[in-house]
């Protein structure tokens, strides 16, 4: 068993942002042990947008936690050749006592960004998510979509560790738009694509919504449930007819889910 989360050697750094090889995660011990992930191999290239798709219990969130170093894999290795990952949750999780600007500045501070220039950097990040001039608003004064954009700006801020400027950024997103209404969600997806194209960062985006995955992902990875394994991957090329791809992935997802009915019956 080998578990390493070290910075990889720079030789392979150009074509790999994140690499999971043979990763498994077991929670608990003995008879109560639950295998959340089993033998997962996945590589994310720099600047690539990968959507992890799966039904409940496929270990999507576990996988993000492992990459974010919130948890350690039971077996296997995860190599990451990026900045500290920017993590976004379903909930914006903003500090309710801080203004939008201060929330972003707080992330910069934790990232070791020098005090001078923090405010300018925060304003710049808020401008990137189209919240220019909203620095002084508190979270409760913003709409759900605006809050989630502050959260995006804040997560991007945490990638600004000094001394790591040359590394590509990595965004880990755990169903970040699931709590938003349809229209806001649509706009947020557009904004995310715009920002990702502008920053050229790698994204690992967890969702259970096939349409969302097809809209956003350059590559879509379907995971099975209990334990989570990679079932299939699709390349989502811009010229491909996407309704067909949605149908195809939906069919496969249904198939994966149906196997659980037979198992438990």
């Amino acid at each position: 068993m080998s578990v390493t989360l070290d910075q990889p050697d720079l030789a392979q750094s150009t074509d790999v942002a994140v690499q999971l090889s043979g990763v498994a995660k077991v929670f608990g011990h003995g008879r109560d042990a639950v295998t959340a992930l089993e033998n997962v191999d996945l590589t994310v290239a720099p600047g690539e947008f990968v959507c992890l798709l799966g039904a409940s219990g496929c270990g999507k969130s576990t996988m993000l936690n492992l990459v974010a170093e919130l948890d350690a894999p039971t077996t296997g290795t995860i190599t990451r050749n990026t900045t500290r990952p920017a993590v976004m949750f379903q909930d914006p999780a903003l500090m309710p006592w801080l203004t939008a600007g201060r929330n972003v500045e707080f992330a910069l501070r934790l990232a070791g960004f020098p005090r001078t220039g923090r405010r300018e950097k925060a304003a710049e990040l808020l401008k990137l998510v189209r919240l220019e001039g909203q620095e002084r608003k508190r979270p409760h004064e913003l709409s759900g979509g605006m809050r989630q954009r502050v959260a995006l700006a804040r997560s991007l801020a945490s990638t600004h560790r000094t001394g790591a400027e040359d590394r590509p950024a990595l965004l880990l997103m755990d169903e970040p738009f699931v709590a938003l209404d349809a229209m806001t969600k649509d706009v947020m997806q557009g904004e995310l694509l715009r920002i990702q194209a502008q920053l050229q960062s790698s994204v690992l985006f967890v969702t259970h919504d096939v349409r969302e995955a097809v809209r956003l992902g350059q590559r879509i990875v379907l995971l099975s449930s209990r334990p989570g394994r990679v079932v299939r991957e699709w390349q989502n090329t811009p010229d491909e007819d996407s309704p067909d791809l949605v149908d195809e992935i939906n069919a496969k997802l249904r198939e994966v889910i149906s196997t659980h009915a037979r198992k438990s019956a």
Binding site: L70, F89, W97, L110, S143, M183
Partner: protein, 292 residues
Amino acid sequence: MPASPPDADLAAVSAGLDALDAPAAATRPPLWKRLTKSLLPPLVTVVIVIAVWQALWASAWWPEFKLPAPLDVWGEFWATASSGELLDVVWTSVHRAVLGFLAGVAIGTPLGLIVARVPVVRAAIGPLLIGLQSLPSVAWVPAAILWFGINDAAIYFVVLLGSVPSIANGLVAGIDQVPPLLPRAGKVMGAGRIDAARFILLPAALPGYLAGLKQGWAFSWRSLMAAELIAISPQLGMGLGAYLSHGQDFNDMPKVLAAIFLILIVGVGIDLLVFRPLERSVLRARGLTSAL
């Protein structure tokens, strides 16, 4: 991937949604309206209480030494105030209560933090802290006098036992109610244990902590009154409790009532002048304005 709408369109829709979905800024009514709304009801209450009191006195149901006229109590109050004695008495008690309360904060805060964050400590002394909160601190006065004698140490001991449990328990409750997602968000941003406690846990627990402080003040004040009523000695000086006891010794009902009102006024006054504004600003900053 399907073609995304052009950037300008996206910006326009995004700005439109922001304008529509953002909660409307609450408009504050003019100052005179707010003042009448907050000052008028308590003033009316005071007027009614005095009117009922006056009526009861006028009916001569009770003898004068049991129920004096409101004006007699005011006369006693005014006489003490104009001789300068009142200020001395109130100052003696208030400065003791404030010092005792501040010491309570200094002890109760780290204690609460440890109880909240260290499971063994919580299991060991958590129930004790809650029990101490329901134990009337006047019960400690005899022990304090036997241990320390009739002096300031005894009084501060009683005040501390009154305030520390409330303050610690308030902080524990505040920390327990912090949404777990906030420390988690801090962790992914790279916050260590100390940073997380300082910048996330403590500010997030502030509303509960403030409630604890408020209660801690109330307990300090009433513990002090209990201690001053029982522990009376010339070298302790004359506090409000001793003043009240004097009234009893001389069968001076106006003095007794004046002392009770003073104790009440100081307690309410500190709450209104110190804790209410603090609480308001903390809750308003978080958008928790329903109770304001």
